[in-house]
Symmetry: C2
Subunit: 118 residues, 2 copies
């Protein structure tokens, strides 16, 4: 279930793929046109689209000899939800900790007072 996060994350980790993602957020585009804009060849674009598709971020449909790719709003929304959950956990816990300056030290060794704090 957490695989969506994994796939989505390293789908967006690549700059070229993010460029495709951005271009696709303006509307459906054919593979060839993406390749024309990007600094890589068409096969590279195909491979990137494959990754994005497996991550559930894009969908494609045939249009004559061409194939139009566009964002999959559901997939994007789902990934966004995963991210939001991650941020919330991270920042939420921090918030809770900031309120209690020093809590009960779960495991003794951990929370020693720091000598110089620099």
């Amino acid at each position: 279930m957490d695989t969506y996060l994994q796939a989505g994350l390293d789908a967006l980790a690549d700059e070229t793929r993010r460029a495709i993602f951005r271009r696709l957020s303006a509307g459906p585009v054919a593979v060839n046109e993406l390749a024309r804009v990007l600094p890589v060849t068409r096969p590279a674009v195909s491979q990137h689209l494959k990754v994005l598709k497996k991550a559930g971020l894009v969908i494609d449909r045939k249009a004559g000899t061409r194939r139009l790719y566009q964002l999959d709003p559901e997939g994007v929304a789902r990934l966004r939800a995963h991210f939001d959950e991650m941020w919330t956990k991270a920042l939420g816990n921090f918030q809770r900790m900031a309120e209690k300056p020093l809590m009960g030290a779960k495991d003794g060794k951990q929370c020693r007072a720091r000598p110089k704090s620099n």
Copy 2:
């Protein structure tokens, strides 16, 4: 300036690094303790922490012979903001497109009706 996104993204793209991130979201932890929990050695943890630190996601402070790492709420919030912007752009444009079933076809060739839509 978009480098924060890049750094943050491939900082979180790695599963081990995400595990560290999750563990750190529960509070400050020493390197050794992270290594004890994770399936990798301590040097690997150090290297991962370095990446997370360069991405601005964690901060560290000395505590005796140990070094405690914790999330940097500012960095996390900043990365989150970048993501939110990305999602908004992606889904916002899509929203706008969904409202106009077929717009004026910027470049003629593009928006043909799909034959089978499968």
